[in-house]
Amino acid sequence: MKKTVWSMCGMCSVRCPIKVEVEDGRVTWIEGNPHILKGSLCAKGSAGVALQKDPERPQQPLIRSGGRGAGKWEPVSWYTALDYVAERVEKIKEKYGSKAIVMSCRGGPWQDLIKAFCHALGSPNFTNHDSACGRNVHHASKSVYGLGRKGFIYDIAKAKHLVCFGRNLLASLRVAEANQVMDMLDNGGSLTYVDVRQTLTGIKATRFFQVRPGTDYALALGMINEVIKQEAYDKEFVEKYTVGFDHMAAFVEPYTADWAAKECGIKVKKLKDFVSEIGQQRPKVIFHPGWMLSRYRDSFYASRCLHILNVLMGNIETEGGQLFPKGPGDCGIKGLRTFSSNVPKPEDKRADGVGWKYKHFDKGPGLFHLYYEAMMTGEPYPIKGLICYRHDPFNCFPDVATQKEALDNCELLVSIDTHYSEFGWYCDVILPESMYLERETPVATQKGLKPRFIYRDRAAEPRYNTKPSWEILKMLADRLGFGEMFPFQTAEDMWKWQLEPTGYSIEDFQDKGFVSLSDTPIMYDRENLEGKFKTASGKIEFVNESWENLGIPSFKPYESPKKPPKGRFRLVFGRSPVHAHSHTINNPFLHELMPENTLWINKRVATRLGINEGDWVDVIGDSQMGTIRAHVTEFIHPEAVYTVHGFGRQVPLQSRAYHAGMSDQKLQEGLLLMMDEAGGGLCLCEKFVTVRRSSRNPRRRVEL
C-alpha cells in the first residue's frame, strides 16, 4: 500500500517541510514539500533514509553498567529505564531540591515541550546549546531592537545586496534561504562576502574581503564610519526611529575606512567603493547579522554593528530588506496552546545567574556553559542532574575533559537522542528517541509574511524499540507525578489540545502538510512602526541606556586580535553542506561523501613547514592532539587554520565515524568558561594550535 505523509526533515535544525512517500511501511521517497520548497532538499535531507536503515543507533533504552564513558550498557525495557530515571530524579529532589536538575535541548520550534517539562519538574534551569552558537547575535539584536535574533526575517530574494560576514549560508544550508540567495543573484543582486578563507558562499560573491582573523568588528566599525561620512544612510529613518546616533558617530570617528582597511588587511578603495554602492542600493541592502558567532572576544559587538548597519540602510519592513515575521495574531487567529502555559513557572533563581547576576541576558534558555561552573563550585546552589534532549554538549562546547570533570559532580546524566551522542556515551541512561521519520512532533508555528502552522507526522513505524520525545516525556511525567500537566495519551490528542484555541484541526493539515494563516503577505506600515521595537525607549537604540546602566557599553573600544606566536595558528571551524555538525558523521551516505575533515592551511605557511597537499599533520592544543590530512590553499589567511566541525568522534558503536577526522572542540582547551560578558557567547576561535607535519608518512608502509 502506498501513502503520502507530511513531515519535517530532521537531519539538521532547519527542519525543512517534507513530503514522504511510504510503500508497505517502507519509506521510498522524500522530497521538499512541493507547496513550500518545490521539491528541493539538500544531501542530508535525502540521506534520511540511510539513517532510518542504520542499525548503528541506540535500539532500546540503555542503562550504564560500567564506569561513565566505559561503553558498557545494559539494554533494558522502557519501564525499567523510566523507573530508574524517575527514582534518581526523586532522590536528587529530596537531597537538593528540584532546582538541582538542568534540562537542555537544541532550541527550535519544539523546545517549549522541554521547557514545560523542566518547569513542571520544579526547576527553573531550562537551557539549550545557544551559548556555543547564536547568543551573541541574539543579545546584540536585543540590545539594538529589543527583539531577539528571530525578530526579523530577511527578504533576500528581492534584495539588491547581501553582505555576509562569515555567514557561509550556501554551506550551512537552509534550502529556502539558499534559493533566495540564488534568486537574488539571478536578478542581478550583489553579494559581498567577508571571511578569513574562501567558502562555497564566497565563490558566488561579487566582492570578497579576505580579512585577518578576529577583525570583523574593525571592518564593521570602518563601514559605519564610512557610511556616515559618505552620508550613505537613510536619514529620515534614522531620525524617526532611532536614538543615540550622535554618540555612535562620535564613537566611530577614529575608526575610519583607512584604519579599518589596514587593520583587516584589505584595500581601502574596495571598502569605499562598497559603501558608495550600498548607498545607492539601500534600502534593499541586507547585512546578515551572523548565525554562529560564538567566535571572538568582540563578536557581540561585531554583530551589534551589523544590526546597526541594517538600520542605517533603513531596510526595515521594506521589500528586499528585513521584515517583521508575522504570527497568528497578525491574522486574527489565536496561537497554539503552549505546553508551558499549562505549567507554573518555578520561582527559584536560575543557577546560571541569568536574570539576577546577568540582568541583561534573555532568561529564556539562559547560558548552558555556566551550569558547569555551578556543578564545579556548588554556587549559587548545587547542580546534580543533567538531562539533554537532542543536545550533545561534548560536540557543541569546548574542552570536553573539563566538561567531564564538572559532570562527575552530577548524580544523574540522561541523554534523549536519536543517535549515540558523545555526551550520551558518558551518561548513565540513554533514552533512544525515534528518528524523525518514525515519530510525530507537536504542531509548530512558522512565522513569516504568510505565517503557518505545520507538523510532523509519523511516516514509518520505529524500526527499533524507540519512542517519540513527547511520549518519553509524558511517561516520565506520569512517573514523577505531574502527568496531568500534559493531558494527552496519543499524538492526535496532543495536536487536538494544542490546536484547540486556533479553531483548526489536524485534518486541515492533510492537503499540504501545513495550514497557511494568510493568503497574502502581511506587511506593516513602515511609516507607523511605533511599538514594534521592544527597547526601553521604544526606538532602535544605537546606544542602549538600560544596558549601559548595567555596565554594558553599547560600543567597546576596538582591540586588535592577538597574532599567533610563530608556528601556531588560530583554529577556526565551519560547516560543509553534506554534514550537520556531529550527528550526521556516521550516516552511511554522508560518510561516503565526506568521511573525514581536513586542515586548511595557507600555502606560503605550509611550504615553510614542509607540508604538502594531502600530508598528515598533527594539530596540537595544550594536551590534546588530532591528526588529519592537510589541504594546502592560498585562499585562507596565513594566521588561521580551518577545519569542518563535528568529526573526531569517539563512540565505538558508530563504526564509520569512530576516530575519523579531528575534533575542533577537544582542542579548544581552556575556552569552556571564556564568555563574552556582553553577549553571553563563548569565544571559540580564541585558541591557537600548533601544526606540524606528522611523523606518519603517507607514502611509506612496511607490511611484513
Partner: protein, 152 residues
Amino acid sequence: MNKYMLYLNSKRCIGCHGCEIHCKANKDLPVGPILCEISHEPLKSVKGVPKTEFFFRSCYHCEDPYCVPICPTGAMKKREDGIVYIDEDACIGCMACAGACPWNIPQVNPATGKAVKCDYCMDRVDQGLRPACVTKCTTRALKFVTLQVVES
C-alpha cells in the same frame, strides 16, 4: 534521436552534492556506486574573488553508445527516446560495459552484483515525473530538458 538531456545551470549550482544522494536514495543503492557526480576545478581568483564552477556528470546516454553492443547478454539497451539502461534481469555483472565506456560510467552495485548506471530515472519519467536529481536539486540548478527538432 535522443529526446532528453540533463542540463546544469552552473551559475545556480552551489556544489552541495545533494543530487548525488537524491539519486542514490531513489535507487536504494548501497555505499559504493554513485551515479552522478559534481566536480569542480581548483579555485582561481577572478577580479579579486576566488571562483570556481561546478560540473555535473552522469551517463551521457550516447547517440551511439559503446556499452550497448559489447554487452554479451543484451542487458544494456537503448530506448526509442534515447535512454540507455540496464535490464537488471539480463545483466550478469561482467562489467564489459564499463570497460567499453570511455568514461567508465557503469558501476557495480554490490547489493546485486550487477551493473548500475544512470537511466534518467526512466520509471519516474514514464510516470510523467522528472528524475530524482532534478526534482530535488537544492537550488533548482539541474534541469531535465526535452529536446525538440528544429526544422530549418
